[in-house]
Amino acid sequence: MSEWADQRPAHTPGMSAKDEILARVRAALDVPRRDEITEAQDVPRAYQRADDKQEISTDRAKVRDVLVQRLEDYTAVVHRTTFDGAPAAIAAALGEAARVIVPPGVPASWTDDLDPEVTRDDGTLSPRGLDAIDAVLTGCHTAIALTGTIVLRGDDLGGRRAVSLVPDHHVVVVEAEQVVLGVPKGIERMGTDPGAAWTMISGPSATSDIELSRVEGVHGPRRLDVVLIEPAPEPTPEQDTDPRAQEQTA
């Protein structure tokens, strides 16, 4: 009917789809744009990268404060604790959960004193089986403070992806040395193992699809608790940390 909706674009006989697409793209790029070709080294990297002064020299306690504030902004529940206090904080975070699953590499000290029935994941539980479990307790790989992001790697600490997804309540343990300030530092850490199964989590599952009012908990876990393990407070607080930080940059 319409003159523009005539026929499917021509395919070149005897040419594979791959060869044809590449030939089309090459033909298209034969017409150059006015300015020069952009090479990788031409990309201006003036933004704050992983080696940025702010990333390196910001006081670590302050970075953790930012993380906590951003996580709470997403309505995640944060439990700040120390190494010794971790088991109790984890128990508190798990709350009423009767059945808990953990990836195989989660330290025994996190789970030894727990009341709920703890299953160590051996990769056999089906999605339906996981659905019958109340909560999942995992460690993490990296936490990005400025965006309030928890980064899980599909390893013995972060677990296979289904394990941290199907149960309705997710408790993540973050250790102080895993906390970075910005996204570039986080990506740098992930880039050491780019082929892994990575999941970045920023707050509980949410949607704004109905009149843009935010509703929490659609398909992912509806509750996210973060247990942050921090160094025990130093005997002399309130010390000016700037000189030390400057040394680190140098």
Binding site: E3, W4, R8, P9, A10, H11, M15, A17, K18, E20, I21, L22, R24, V25, A27, A28, L29, V31, P32, R33, T38, E39, A40, D42, V43, P44, Y47, Q48, R49, P127, R128, D131, L146, T147, G154, R161, A162, L165, V183, G186, I187, M190, G195, A196, A197, W198, T199, S202, S205, A206, T207, S208, D209, I210, L212, V215, G217, V218, H219, P221
Partner: protein
Amino acid sequence: MSTVDLGIPSVRPQHASPSSNLRGEQSFPDAARDELGNEVLRGNLRHATATINGKRASAVREVRDWQKLRNAGSALKWQVTDHLPELLEQLEESVTAAGGVVHWARDGDEAGEIITRLALERGAEEVLKVKSMATQEIDLNETLAHAGIRAIESDLAELIVQLAEDTPSHILVPAIHRNRAQIREIFLAAMPDLDPSITDDPPELADAARRFLREKFLDMPGSVAISGANFAVADTGTLVVVESEGNGRMCLTLPKTLISVVGIEKIIPSFQDLEVFLQLLPRSSTGERMNPYTTLFSGVTPGDGPEEFHLVLLDNGRSAVLEDPEGRSALHCIRCSACLNVCPVYTRTGGHAYGSTYPGPIGAILSPQMTGMDGPDDPNTSLPYASSLCGACYDVCPVKIDIPKILVHLRAEDVDQRRETKGEYHGTWDMAMKGASKLMSSPRAYDAAVRSAGPLSKVLPGANIGKLPGILPLVPGWTDHRDLPKPGQSFRSWWDAREKDAAMQPGSDDDATAPGAGPASSTTEEQS
């Protein structure tokens, strides 16, 4: 026009296949007129876009190096464009090395055939889908339905749209044109197990969708899921899917077979470059510091997630966009939809008026280039005019696509095309321009014309000139839709008077006393 068969295989870039959802039935002004009459739509749009704009602005304000990130994002996308063939081959290699299978689809139909075959071979009667612009573009659900496969949208908004047998109207919030009461009705009609006492409270509605889809996720019927991807990393073969609800994680994790349909322009050069795009996209898109969930996967991971991964690389008109050096940066789009939300045209007409999967300012430059503009009657020829050229879209674009410039470029192409087929001067506009050019080339004729405009218009009633009868050339078309202010004194008359005054009162340089209408009033307008 586009293909010349000389017996030698000379491959040229090709437009999208006609079965794609890239062209509406009506021209933009006609479709927009219908949409503008829909008050629910306008109210929803106003509320939704104002909310997102506010969130985006504060999320962006927080980032001190935002402009530097935009510069990097733009340059990275140029790097991808300039090196697309090499990067595509690199991506294929790295995905294959990671255990994935790469398919190439010249157009939407070919992609549909590949995906249908893969699904049928695995005995799938139902497939679950993650919201994906590419599959919407190639009308995949329809293609699968022809083969007897039911595609179920798992994104809440897409589900609403699908259950209502409707089409999406916004890139990010496809059901932006539906309010809560409408959504409740749609759910009640489509979900047989739903308790009729459900209210239209968004958490209750979201919970209904959760229960409806959870059954599907946990069993993953046929165990095939189909997704798109936000980024495909060439050096590591990593695909990145950015989402909020967790339906993406479900579909990327629980099925046996995962098929991802990705446009050839979605490549980014290296894993490290995610540090730029994962900052630009969420803040521009939903106005969040980071979206709730981002999944990164490379091929298959034994013991974790799908056992089989297929990547379908899609051209479908993208090579045609690439062919135009002035317009090719339209392919840099990362589908954040910030340009839609700030556009004074989109925020009033909504997405359906654009007739394409890609609405708003980006759609107005992307769709006509993907399909080609086939003469003045082609609805997509009207899209480059669907803009006031205010430039807000360029200001918010995270990868700095100069949308207004491309709109103007495409308008020029349309005019050139019409001149080729209809001659140098055709229609009232060209005739009027020809007349104006004659008039303006003679100082005396021009002087007489502008000096007489004021007095002549005095014979018309009212303060403004309203709709003029069609017998006059040029002006009627102009005055159909807007009032023309009556010309007051001409600039030349005003200047003469001013010079005369100045001669009489030497030393006075008070030039702010220009009388009445004319140049002085236009100055005031600029300031207001």
